[in-house]
Symmetry: D2
Subunit: 394 residues, 4 copies
């Protein structure tokens, strides 16, 4: 069997050529002065993409799940009252860590095609002033939905609640302003909208988050999960707590360089342009988008409800074997098929190829799909002149 | 500043060209059927290099420190009686995890230029029959020394003691026979003698180790540190507990393919040839090898005692800036400078270049070194006809 | 400006990942024994793809234009009677070399959307028995048409006429049988259906061709254009007449390995499948294919007549700037736009993406195009089960 | 058999990592606007390294032999009086083209370990005022010697003689000032001191050279060898006369970017430093340098006389098989072994490794060599503080 002709999954997908070149470049000793300089350069640039001056950047060496678990264990211990917001699979999963830690778990849960209501959160926090930590997923990748972290940040900050924000699949492609939105502990992954390699957790930590971590006697130390080790050893003494993955750091550096070169607004506009065309195409085909509204849809991935009588597995397997396109399923969020258009794959005609394969696959499997109308609608959307944000380089 | 002309550190070093090509290749979705096939292929081949039929292979996504911590936490909990063998920095460090876990820590410690005495271990275990777990480092990278894990395995197995063996810097370049030597939980890294990328923990787990892990109620579950999750989800249900690093898996697969192609004995002979020549050169220069004897010296790295009056930092910085050679220091084992010759860097003339730079650097810094005699001795050793093991492909 | 998102030109296009890895691999000295071995391996495998046992393979280091000029000058001199067949731009151009050389030029020319009639050639040769050499283009890339070289070979061989066959854009993707079809001097390029790098001429030379070259006193010697130097020095004495491009040879070797692994019939079927779907799509859009019939259409590139009132430049520029797709024009064959689907780009959904961009571009420019119907037709064609040839590996 | 551990030949050698990355990057259509921009950028930067404002830059797609032949045929025809200067194999070979062309050949020849005397040339030209063209090799790679082209340029220009200068192995590593030295038609290769890929001819053409070419009725047109085609089509009409090798252009662009970043003086100083150390080492070993004096020695390659009783083949084969180092022989200049230190291989400790392998190889083969003294001398030379030219970036 051959690799897919087009990988349009929810990540990892193929990365920018410059990132591949960096990953395949010479591997240096991690204490080579050149590497240490590059590492610090990567930290600084990761911070710029978080749009923060005040957060400390931590690059843990492990997929974002590592960073999320590290965040949970650093901020919470037995008995910590936490409000966990659940609008999808990842939000739900975060609660399981909190339970394992023994935190006092509060949850607000909505349907997985919906988004959290910020006002409800504010009301809940007012009713439960003991809550110290709030956890929320910005972009729920399995559902393709967005939560209003821009509003949640100030609600929490004003109440002294520290926020943990999973921005894994929004970072780099969807608007995110850590400072302005008053978010505390953010965890991103390079393999989504950044178009970088999987394998690292990109974290931003506010002073408020550090204070809460220091106040937690059970925050990991002497562990692969320890944010404190990283801060004290690397930022404090110039020693890495473990050997970083040199190729991953090179790959991330290449990816952030590309993004800063393109411009954050330009990259967001590119994701937006592709996503809107995809949504138009799905609707015109007669298929149903999974999120309840465009207002809560994430620009990094399009989730499509699989028609009755079909399963996501059937659709994915057929699209892969007949048309060479690798898609994702819903990871439990529902009977969903997902087309990723993030980072290196947020390219208009790649999305159109994926959408066409999805449409024809469903026809092959017996569903009623107006393929021609769908592609015409997607292309009509793409045909609109590209708006390049002022000051962007592309 | 430019990257070093030659990186001859204790790892990571630059990797084989085929590994670099694999790292820079297209990134697939981790559930692409081609990737899953490659992942399983990597597991099988990693097992062959462990020389085991009976162990289960686990590829955790994080530097070997992750695998070692996972091993410690999986096998030990509060009150578990553990014998930790300390002949260097990594052995010592392992004890700190055990202490953090709350295990009942027993230690046999020798000087960091020496090796553990297997008979003493047998006697200690006989005197302390309550001990359930023994931890040992095969190749103490910071010291360049080897411990007799071939003898320790049977001593422990016959007493019902489960072994944790750190084989990070021996795996792939120094003889290691997991089945025959009756070792239980082994943790390797791809970035040393394998000539692969940093970023993964390669683990082999015996049935005895699994039994002990299952008997430990505190063995991590639902965590990045969980070996059980990996076994149950990936081996049990075909689902990854987290997104694996696709490039790392590609890189590891390329590296194990190269090694199996070369042949395990041939690769060991290559490491041995380079190491012996290096040792001969160091002695002839009038410098002192750190390990007490060649019998306990590891073939992957040569540790040299820095002459009195000089520091490892002086030597490393000068060799790097004047001659473009990146070396390692002793990581706390002593006033040591180390030349790595492991994996892709176990090449005769690369080592000679490194040795020459070390010798001249010490002269530049005021030490008495017979540089010419040293290089002549190293070359005389290399001049001996290369013995290719029977059946080896190179 | 950014590189195109999809390069679907008539070549060079992006190459297979394995070829890119080989091009980016270490560069060896050309007299390293390993390189010489690889060079000979490449020659042998290039010959297998020519489907010949009897031809000598020559790999000249320069784009196929070099090989074609070398062929012309090797076989022809002042006064040599040559029949040049012209069904397109490349056939026409070949005549200009013949004129420059001073050959006695005979030509049969047909319209550039048509193919040469083999019977007419036989009749012409019978009427002009003095003709010694015939030149023909197998696949006229600018037109997307095929000439019947399978019939022309025996017609010429039986009359003692030596054939020069330009197979640049058929080699590796369209049926070609050098021995069976009795063709003499074939010139291919790696950058088309082989999915290899541009930069080399792959040549196969029959004994009949060599005899004619040796009989030509003006055949180049001591020149970059000399086939005789290559044969005498490299095949005769093991010395290269010039430094070969090591990366190009590595890239070609990777490409031929991939093709032989896939199987020649399987690769041809892949090109055929994509081409037929593309043609169906073009017709259903209401656009006109340039070649007069499918019977004479080449499977490597689809030539589409640009609608009245538009120019190829308008179409190409708009498709490139608005949709990120790089297409080719007709290079003088007509008001044509071409979509390449050759080698690495003969992938179904890449072609569909290109076709969609072409259709929408024409709409944007004011033409009447039924985009939806076109894509539906293309997909209906692709939806047919893939026929894998017996014995093929894919 | 494995590739060499160190390739220290007279070229091609392995290239800078950035060049490898560029060679392995995506291949664009040659009329993609981005590629055309890159091509022009490469031309401009190639010109800066020639240190010229007044020459037109031509990048022919073929190894430098192509460029040299093109130069000969463009400037000379039957009966053209040419003075060819011969101090080595390449100078001699150039005369064979001139003979083949039918030029009226004058030659000044010196021993192949010597250099041309500029005064003798001036005298010869004064005695033969009919001479129109002079050909000279700047750096005779097979001998490792330099000719005084800085003096020859003005001698010729003042007499109306057009110069053809082979700068293949000096370009980028040895001082070269095309404008200031009044040189006319220069031909370089990227695979020597530039550390780029083999496969291209980098040419600079003065107005005087163009005038002479235009006056030559037999200057190639409509040919792969045509400089006029390149100028008229590409510079005149924006059309390439043939498909350029996209990866080669990418590789050359990466190499010239690196060199301009390093600074021309810094790169020359780097070559000089390594060469001087090598020469010191050879002499201290008791071996003989081939060039008569250091004053005429080229900094890109060290030519060593093979001791009596041994052959270059013996030395090369033994060094390759026992020590993994690939060297060059003298290509007919004499019983010579050559260590290349050019471009990416002009790194101090790589040279030392090569020199050590050469010394020990000769001992293995029975010669008297003081290996230790040689390495000590080389290192003593390298131990001198590195002089970084003012304004250089390294």
């Amino acid at each position: 069997m051959q690799p897919a002709d087009l990988t349009l999954s929810a990540g990892p997908n193929d990365v920018f050529p410059e990132v591949r070149a960096a990953m395949g470049g010479p591997i240096l000793y991690h204490y080579d002065p050149v590497f240490k300089e590059r590492f610090r350069d990567a930290e600084a640039k990761v911070g710029r993409i978080f749009r923060t001056d005040g957060h400390e950047i931590i690059l843990m060496q492990g997929e974002a799940i590592l960073g999320l678990e590290a965040a949970a264990r650093s901020l919470c211990t037995r008995g910590t009252p936490v409000l966990n917001l659940v609008s999808g699979v990842f939000g739900k999963g975060f609660g399981s860590w909190l339970t394992a830690i023994g935190a006092e778990l509060h949850e607000i849960e909505v349907a997985y095609d919906d988004a959290i209501d910020a006002d409800a959160v504010a009301a809940y926090l007012d009713a439960h002033p003991e809550i110290k930590v709030l956890a929320v997923v910005h972009s729920e990748t399995p559902s393709g939905t967005l939560n209003p972290v821009d509003r949640l940040g100030p609600i929490c900050r004003s109440r002294g609640v520290v926020t943990i924000v999973d921005v894994v699949s929004s970072y780099g492609g969807i608007e995110l302003r850590s400072d302005e939105w008053q978010l505390d502990l953010l965890v991103a992954g390079p393999q989504k909208c950044l178009g970088g390699p999987p394998g690292m957790s990109l974290m931003a930590v506010s002073p408020q988050a550090w204070a809460a971590i220091e106040a937690n006697p059970d925050a990991p130390r002497g562990s692969y999960l320890s944010m404190l080790d990283y801060r004290d050893l690397w930022h404090g003494q110039g020693r890495f707590p473990f050997t970083p993955s040199v190729p991953d750091v090179h790959g991330v550096l290449a990816a952030v360089d590309l993004l800063l070169d393109e411009g954050l607004e330009a990259a967001q506009a590119r994701h937006e342009r592709v996503a809107r065309a995809c949504w138009a195409g799905v609707r015109a085909m007669g298929l149903r988008l999974w999120p309840r509204s465009e207002a809560i849809s994430a620009a990094s991935v399009t989730s499509i409800t699989v028609p009755d009588g079909l399963t996501d597995t059937q659709v994915r397997d057929h699209a892969r074997s007949r048309y060479g396109v690798q898609l994702s399923a819903g990871q439990g969020a529902g009977n969903i098929i997902r087309i990723g258009h993030m980072g290196n794959t947020a390219r208009p005609m790649w999305m159109v190829a994926g959408l066409t394969a999805v449409g024809r696959t469903m026809i092959d499997l017996g569903a009623q799909v107006d393929l021609g109308a769908g592609i015409e609608a997607a292309m009509a959307s793409l045909a609109e002149p590209v708006r390049v944000p002022v000051g962007a380089s592309t």
